[in-house]
Structures are given as structure tokens and as C-alpha cells.
Amino acid sequence: MSNPVIKCESVYKIFGVNAKKMLRESNGNVDAKKFQENGCIVGVNNASFEVSKGEMLVVMGLSGSGKSTLLRCISRLTDATDGKIFIEGQDLLSLNNKELIELRRNKMGMVFQSFALLPHKTVVENIAFPLQIKGIKTEDSISKAMDMVKLVGLDGRENYFPRELSGGQQQRVGIARSLAVEPDIWFLDEPFSALDPLIRKEMQDEFLRLQDKLQKTIMFITHDFDEALKLADRIAIMKDGIIEQLDTPANIVLNPATEYVRKFTEEVPREKVLLIQDVMDPSTSDNLGDLKVLKDEIIENVAEKILTQEKTVAVVDNNKKIVGSINPTKIINTVFGGRKNNN
């Protein structure tokens, strides 16, 4: 984890005519209200973070929280007002138009909420589009696109037009298109928000399967907290352009940094989110039972087993080495009570 793939240093995005000047005068202390009085709208307020290779960072926030703006700054679909963004060590904001196009053609892929497919091209043509834009020969691009069609499970429908597909299928095309150039960095802007709940769940599972195989560096935008918990390696929660908290799902559930974040975590079924290692007692004693549980097991899966034990249960890592212990009371506390006390 030496070099982060994406690195942001105090990125600001402020919309408005005098944005730059006001930002300079405010010295980095941006007060959204004050800016609004002067006709400026704060999109992203002092965002700093890193995403390392193969990691999935989910940015969660309600509408208007600036999450999509942040993503568009990093893909440079809009120019950040201030701050530095590095893509694999390269200063994104210093690239000229040609270099930027080169970067997008080879390193970046993006999936959109409304699918954004080209209505006049078939499924396979849509997927081959970024390849053809690069100047790859038609036959090669089509055969590469056909691989992608298979990858997202749309074989047999490659000659359909987007208007003939369901929402879920259209988004599969969108995903395939964004992957066609084999990018290292994958941006997904609320890819499943426009889908029905059942299809959404199916697509999330499909997405996890793909990521397992491809190991891309991902920035994933969503307004759905459950989706964030399900997918993320780390979650950034945004409000009014500010990143309120950036941490692993477990830490966000267990230790919400602000009142705002806590509201989201209240209703979360912890046994489905937390792992054994998140709640175990790192100290061990000799008085442990025979049952051993893996430390990165989700609580829900082993709770019943642990609860039937009388003694404290040993927690082991992948090498079967005992790394801690957990007793049934702890499980009961985690699942049923003490939510407020945990804060």
C-alpha cells in the first residue's frame, strides 16, 4: 500500500461566479451559509482522502450532499475550485486536455445512474464505443466487446438496442462499457439507484462477484446506507460537502463520529454488519470452550453456535491461532441492546 491510486488533498468545489475569490478570502474555512448569501453554492468542502489499489471506497450521502460533485472532480468532469488530486501519483489538475483524454481512454471507467447509453447503438456497439473512440479496429473492438457482453451475462442480447432492454439489463451494458478499456480505476455514480429493490440486490451481488474477479480500485457513490455497508471496504459519509466520517463499515457502526452519522447507524442490524473481530475481547484466557470461530466471520452466521455455549468461545485467525475470545453475553449485548451505550 505504498502509493495510493487516488489521493485528494483539501479539494474544494464551489459553484458561483466569485467562487475562486471567496475561497481565497475565506482561507480554507468555508462556511456554506455565508457563501450561499453571496450566491455561491458549496459542492465539496475540504475533502482529503486516499484510495489504495484494489480498495472500494463508498461515498454515502443524501441528495445534495456533494457526493456526485466529488466524483466529478476526481474524474475531472468538472474542475475542482481548489485542492490537489493525484491519480497514481499524477497531478490530475495539471493535465492538459489531450493528456486527460489519454488518461480516460486507458485508466478510467465510469457507470452512471441513468445508464447514459447511446440510443442509436446496439448493446455490443455501446460497449465497443470507448474502444472505437481510442481508434481500435472495428472487428477487434467488437470481439473485445463480446467478451464483456459475456462477462455481464448479456449473451444473446448483443444486437438489442438499449430501448429494448430492462433497467437492470441496461445497467449491465453500462457496466460492461465502463470495463471495456480495462481501466484500473472504476467510478460508479449511484449505479443501482434507478433499479427496483429486487433487481438492485441481484446487481449488487453480481457487482461483488465482478469485483472479486477484477480487483479494481473503486469509488462508488450511493445514497443507500445498507448498500454502502454491504459493498464497501471503507465508507465516506458526506453532508453539505463535508466528509463527516471516513472509516470501515464496522467502525462507523460502532463508533459514529458525529450525531449525523449516528442517525444512519441506529437502525442497522449489527449482527449482519459486524464481524467477530469487531466485538471480541482481544485478551485470551485459559478457560475457553472447545468451539473456535474465525475472526472475520459475520456475527449473524455464528451467533447461534456461540449462544449455545456456556463457556467463552475462542476466536482464531486463518492460521487457527487464537487471537481473542468472545462470550455469549457480548453477543446478546451487541444484537439486542446497549446500542446507545456503545457510543
Binding site: 468532469l77 478510467m108 441513468s114 447511446l118 442509436h120 470507448p130 465502463s178 478499456v181
Partner: protein, 717 residues
């Protein structure tokens, strides 16, 4: 007092009306005032006043400034005219190589550019015309007359009408299906049998040049405006004026710049047809979801790829609707530009109307309308057609239509060849049916007109007299009785009440321009005719629209009727009214009413249709009856859209009033028509056109501002 507080707007309007009428009564009609029939600047009269500005002398009849403002802008048309002549004949003389005389010749730059442009256009038109009709101008353009004399075989033979008819049918089939194909075939056969082939193909060749050129320029400018705010801002006022500018008025400057003939007609058609194309291009590009643009960018498109591979294909439908609009404007202009010498159906129509040969006019009018409807339907079908997938079809399947056409070409040629034996010594009817050898129903129609006149003369006359004496004359007198100051106060006050200070200023500027031009009286007459037409049109249109809306089928049917009526070139409307009412103001007004009722009806139906279904259901569940639903729910919500219809109605009415000058009216249109045959008419015609456009824009501004406010208030987008 409480009442005033409750309805402040109503009180403001009442106050405005009181001021207006007070001014009207306070300002007496000057004793010397009379409606000037001649043009002031050409009448020498010792009673006239005059002033000199920029070296131009302006003569006018002076009145109290409250009654009529002095024509302080009277120098403008003369100045425009002189500038145009200076540009054409004196500015920047440059030496050009003359091919014919093999020597350098000095010529002003603009004149040379205009000559070259003219030659280019003429070549294009001749090329297409000769493909359709045969001829040798194109070959001559590449070789010489001497060469043609030695090689007489090189003359282009022209396509037999059978091939063109079959081609039209095949293309229609590909675009839409059997129905349109049959219509296309029948139209072509009709044209041919009735001996209108040659003028029809002349008109078609004119449109086949004007429409693609307008499309290219419109698309290019539309893209430029989409990409650059500055270009858009510069184009916007021109587009606005062009939309309300009567087409007659554009003809006059073109006459000076490009002379008389088809080429001038093409250029002027482009001037008129490009603005709607620009507007629709911008509209289409704007409507693209931002995510599609972002997807294009993230796929690594450069600007060029983004425009031509993402944006334009995505906006395809709107752009093709623009093509449809261009074609419609071209047809309208095909008739009007006959005034400056465009050949074809329009010219025949004009000639027939001039000779009062209604039968011939009807035939030409029917032909041009049929072709217009055909091309309208074809381009709409093209716009609505979605791309098909061809990859898995065989060569034969993919190129079926082309192969089919190739076959018909061969069959057509063989038929035409057989024809040379069949009709030995006479005309080859399988190749082309000459103008006077087709079936003609002109006599029948002419007799019909005579019969109508003989039979109903008394009634028509009585109606005519009643309308003119009891309605039109008093109304006209009322309009002319308005003192200029009162009119301006009324218009500017309305602007202020509707759109605040900004609207008031815009409207004030537009009105002042007309008031300070030499044609205020004429503008009042134009306004009176348009007002009369608009009122009647709106009453008819709103009623018919509302009634038709009650039933789904009748609503669709009515919209279809509106579509077809709108396709007719505006001039065609004059034929039936002249048939019935002869050459009177009544004829013009009835044409105005028929023409302007189209948008009134259409917008009423569309507006009522756009009321959300949810609201309908909610109203029904609240237990309203049909009438209550109409008055309490549908009308209030549809009203803004209906007002946009009113706006269109006004524009349509103004157009027709100006075209009506052909029959003979005493408004601005009469002078525009006069300017066409006047050597120094360019400036006058153009300024008159601007005056008409400004009348339209005053109402356009007021109505649009109101509609926008109202829509915001109702929360409708």
C-alpha cells in the same frame, strides 16, 4: 378600498385603461389629418414638413406630437438602401480575372462575391433540375457551348416520370411503410397525368437545393451556438426577429444583392429556413441528458468525437424535426419567391391568381400542397424511424430497396423507349407529359366559380357589404383614431404590469421604432386586420379545440387536420377565398382566420391534453361533473399553453395579413409588395418587414413573459 387591496392587479389594469381612454378623448383629431394613401416620401406637397439627416431628406406631414410622432427614423430606409447600393457598386473595387474576355476587370468586392455565389447556386439548381428534367446547362458548365454543338449526344436526358414516381414510392416504403408508399405513388401519378410534371420538378429541384443547404448552415450555426454562449447571445435577437418577419420583406434586399431568378430564391429561402433549424438544433442538443455527455467524455471522446458520435446521434430526432421544418419553410418560400423569379409551381400559381384563373391556380395549389404533404410525412417518418440492426442480414436483404429501385430505373427506361414507338409523332407520355397535354380540370373549376358567383352573388355581396361597412370600417376607424401617445402608454403599461420594468422597456423600444417610422398609420391598419383575425380565430380555435378534446378520437383527428393544413404553403389559402369573395378585404380576413385558427385549435387541444391524469382522477373522485372539471381543473391548467397558442395565432395572422397584400390591402404589406417592384425599394421593404416583426414581437414578449410567470406560479414546467 378593501376591494382594491383584494384585487390589486385588476385595479392596475382598470387604471391603465382609464388613462388610455382619457388620452384618446383628450387628444383631438387634427383637422388636417387624413389617412395617406400614397407614400409620403414620393408625394410632393407644399403642406409637407421635412428634415435632413445623414444627408437624406425626409418629407412628412407634421401633426401634434401627441397625435402622431414625427418620422424621426424616416432616413433609415433611404440610408439602408444607399448603403446597400454603395456596397454593391462602389465599395472595395478589386481586380478579377475574367475568364471570357481573358483579361483583368475591376469590380466591387461584394458584387463579385454575389456573382460567384449566384453562379454556384445556379449550377446546383441546374444540376438537379437536369437530372429530373433533362437539359445541357450542366454539361456546358464543364465544357463549352461549342463542344455541345459538336457532341449533341451529351445532353442529359432527364428521368422518365415513371422512375421518379417509383423512387418516391420506394423511399416512402422504406421510411414509413405501405400507406405512405401508396400516397407517394398516387401523388406523382396525379402530378404527371394532370400535366404539372415540369413545374413540379422545377419546384422540387429548388427544394432539393435549398433544404440541404439550409440544413447544413442551420446545423452548423446551431452547434456553434450550443458550444459558445457568446454566439448564442448574438444569434438570439436575429432568430427572434426572423421568426416574426414576414417572408415578403426578406425578398426585397435579396433582389438588390442577387438579382432575379432561382438562385436568389434559394439564397433567400435559406435566410428564412435556417433560423428554425438553428433553434431546433439548439433545443435538441440541450435536451441531451448530461450523463450521456459525461459518458462520452469518460469514454475518452475528444470534442469532435463527442459532437459527431455522441451528441448529434442522440439528438437525432429533434434535428430531423428541424429538417421537417426546413422543408415546410422551403415550400412556403417556393411560392413566395416566385415574386423574384423562381420557376415552378409557385410561379404558375401566382400567374393564375393574377389572371384570376381560379381553376389553374387551384390545380397548381393542389400539386404544391400534395408534394408538401408528401415531403412532410416522409421527413417526419424519417425523424421517428429508429435505427435498425442490419448486421445479420444478407446482402440481398440489406440492399433490397436499392436493388428494387435499380430495377425500376431499368424498367422505366425500357418503358420510355417503348413509348417512343407507341406515341410516334406525338408526345412520349411514358417519358414526360407536357404541361398543356395533361388532363386539366381548370375549366370545370372556373365554371364552378362562375356558378357560385351567379347563384350566390346576392348573399355573398350582402355579407361582404355588411362585414365591411358595419364591422371592418368602424374597427379600422377606431384604430386610426388612437393617438400615438395613448397607444404607447397602453402597450408600455401592459408591459409593466405583466413583466415589470424590463418588459416595459423592451416593448417601449419596439413600439417607438414603429411610431417613429413613416408608417405608423399603416401599422395600425395591419394591427386592426390582425386583431380581427386573431379574435375570430381564437373564438373558433378554442371552441373547436375544447369540443374535440371531449373525445379521444376526435382530438387526434383534429390534430391530424391541423397538421395537414399547416403543411399547405401559406399562399394556397388565398385561392379558395378569392374563389368565393373575390378581391376584397373580406377575402384576406377569411384567409387570415382560416390560417390562424390552426395554432389556436392545436394549442388548445395540446394544452388540455397535458393536464396530468392524476389530477383528472382526483377531480373525478371529488365528484365533479364534466363541465366543472373543464372549468375548474382543465382550463386553469391548460391556459398558459393556450396562451402560447394565442402567440402563434398572432404570428400566423400577421403573416397572412401581409401576404394578403397580394389581393390588395392598405397596410404595411401593400408597401412591401410595392417595394418589390421599386428600384430603390430594398431599404423600404426591409424596414417595413422589421416593423411587422416588431408588432409580432411586442405581443410575443408580453405573452411569453406572462406565460412563464403563470407556469412558475402553477408549478408546471
Amino acid at each position: 378600498m378593501e376591494f382594491i387591496n383584494k384585487y390589486p392587479k385588476l385595479f392596475q389594469w382598470l387604471f391603465l385603461l382609464v388613462v388610455f381612454f382619457a388620452l384618446c378623448f383628450a387628444i383631438e383629431v387634427p383637422e388636417t389629418y387624413k389617412f395617406i394613401r400614397g407614400q409620403a416620401e414620393f408625394v410632393k406637397d407644399p403642406n409637407q414638413s421635412s428634415f435632413v439627416f445623414l444627408g437624406k431628406e425626409v418629407r412628412y406631414y407634421a401633426f401634434d406630437v401627441f397625435w402622431r410622432l414625427p418620422p424621426l427614423l424616416g432616413w433609415l430606409p433611404i440610408w439602408i438602401n444607399d448603403s446597400l447600393f454603395f456596397l454593391m457598386n462602389e465599395w472595395m473595387p478589386i481586380e478579377f480575372w475574367n475568364e471570357d474576355t481573358q483579361e483583368y476587370k475591376t469590380r466591387p468586392l461584394v458584387l463579385q462575391i454575389s456573382r460567384n455565389l449566384t453562379a454556384f447556386m445556379t449550377f446546383l439548381i441546374e444540376l438537379i433540375r437536369e437530372i429530373l428534367l433533362g437539359g445541357l446547362e450542366t454539361i456546358v458548365a464543364f465544357t463549352s457551348w461549342d463542344w455541345i454543338d459538336k457532341n449533341p449526344w451529351a445532353e442529359l436526358p432527364g428521368l422518365p416520370w415513371t422512375i421518379v414516381a417509383a423512387g418516391a414510392a420506394i423511399l416512402s416504403y422504406k421510411l414509413s411503410g405501405k400507406g405512405l408508399a401508396i400516397f407517394a405513388g398516387l401523388t406523382m401519378v396525379y402530378i404527371s397525368i394532370f400535366g404539372q410534371w415540369k413545374p413540379s420538378m422545377q419546384t422540387l429541384s429548388f427544394i432539393l437545393v435549398a433544404a440541404p443547404l439550409s440544413f447544413i448552415f442551420g446545423l452548423g450555426l446551431g452547434i456553434a451556438a450550443f458550444k459558445s454562449k457568446r454566439i448564442e447571445k448574438a444569434l438570439y435577437p436575429i432568430l427572434l426577429v426572423m421568426q416574426t418577419m414576414p417572408q415578403y420583406a426578406v425578398l426585397v434586399p435579396a433582389l438588390v444583392l442577387f438579382g432575379v431568378g432561382d438562385h436568389a430564391a434559394v439564397i433567400i429561402t435559406m435566410v428564412v429556413a435556417v433560423p428554425p433549424m438553428i433553434l431546433l438544433t439548439i433545443l435538441g442538443l440541450r435536451a441531451i441528458p448530461p450523463e450521456v455527455i459525461e459518458a462520452g467524455r469518460m469514454s475518452g471522446c475528444n470534442n469532435w468525437q463527442l459532437m459527431f458520435k455522441v451528441l448529434i446521434p442522440t439528438a437525432r430526432r429533434d434535428i430531423l424535426i428541424g429538417v421537417n421544418q426546413v422543408i415546410m419553410v422551403c415550400f412556403s418560400m417556393a411560392v413566395i419567391s416566385a415574386f423574384i423569379g423562381a420557376k415552378g409551381l409557385g410561379f404558375n400559381l401566382l400567374l393564375a391568381l393574377n389572371q384570376l384563373n381560379i381553376g389553374l391556380a387551384l390545380e397548381a395549389g393542389l400539386c404544391i400542397s400534395l408534394i408538401a404533404i408528401l415531403l412532410d410525412k416522409m421527413s417526419l417518418a424519417w425523424a421517428n424511424k429508429q435505427t435498425d440492426y442490419f448486421g445479420n442480414l444478407s446482402f440481398l436483404q440489406r440492399n433490397r430497396n436499392i436493388l428494387f429501385f435499380a430495377a425500376t430505373v431499368i424498367i422505366g427506361i425500357v418503358l420510355a423507349y417503348i413509348g417512343t414507338f407507341l406515341f410516334k409523332g406525338s408526345y412520349n407520355y411514358l417519358f414526360e407529359i407536357p404541361h398543356n397535354k395533361g388532363i386539366s380540370t381548370a375549366d370545370f373549376w372556373n365554371k364552378g366559380v362562375d356558378w357560385i358567383f351567379d347563384t350566390f352573388f346576392v348573399y355573398i355581396k350582402a355579407f361582404n357589404t355588411w362585414l365591411i361597412q358595419d364591422v371592418l370600417q368602424p374597427m379600422r376607424a377606431l384604430y386610426l383614431r388612437m393617438p400615438a401617445v395613448a397607444t404607447i402608454v397602453l402597450v408600455v403599461g401592459a408591459g409593466y404590469l405583466i413583466g415589470g420594468i424590463r418588459s416595459a422597456l423592451v416593448v417601449c423600444a419596439l413600439t417607438l421604432f414603429i411610431a417613429l417610422s413613416p408608417w405608423w398609420d399603416r401599422a395600425l391598419v395591419t394591427a386592426y386586420m390582425a386583431t380581427f383575425g386573431v379574435i375570430v380565430s381564437c373564438i373558433i380555435g378554442f371552441t373547436v379545440g375544447t369540443l374535440c378534446f371531449q373525445n379521444k378520437h376526435s382530438a387526434s383527428f383534429m390534430l391530424g387536420v391541423c397538421d395537414i393544413f399547416q403543411t399547405f404553403p401559406s399562399f394556397v389559402y388565398l385561392i379558395p377565398v378569392m374563389m368565393l369573395f373575390g378581391i376584397t378585404d373580406t377575402s384576406v380576413l377569411i384567409a387570415v382566420i382560416v390560417y390562424a385558427t390552426i395554432p389556436a385549435t392545436r394549442y388548445t387541444i395540446e394544452g388540455l391534453r397535458s393536464v396530468p391524469v392524476g389530477l383528472h382522477d382526483a377531480a373525478t373522485m371529488s365528484g365533479v361533473n364534466k363541465f366543472q372539471r373543464l372549468t375548474k381543473i382543465e382550463f386553469p391548467l391548460a391556459f398558459p399553453h393556450m396562451m402560447l397558442g394565442l402567440n402563434q395565432t398572432i404570428v400566423f395572422a400577421l403573416f397572412m395579413v401581409i401576404i394578403g397584400a397580394f389581393i390588395g390591402t392598405e397596410d404595411l404589406g401593400q408597401y412591401i409588395l410595392k417595394a418589390l417592384s421599386d428600384k430603390k425599394g430594398a431599404g423600404i421593404g426591409f424596414t417595413l418587414g422589421i416593423c411587422v416583426a416588431f408588432i409580432g414581437l411586442i405581443f410575443d414578449n408580453l405573452i411569453r413573459t406572462w406565460v412563464e410567470k403563470r407556469k412558475k406560479h402553477l408549478g408546471i414546467n
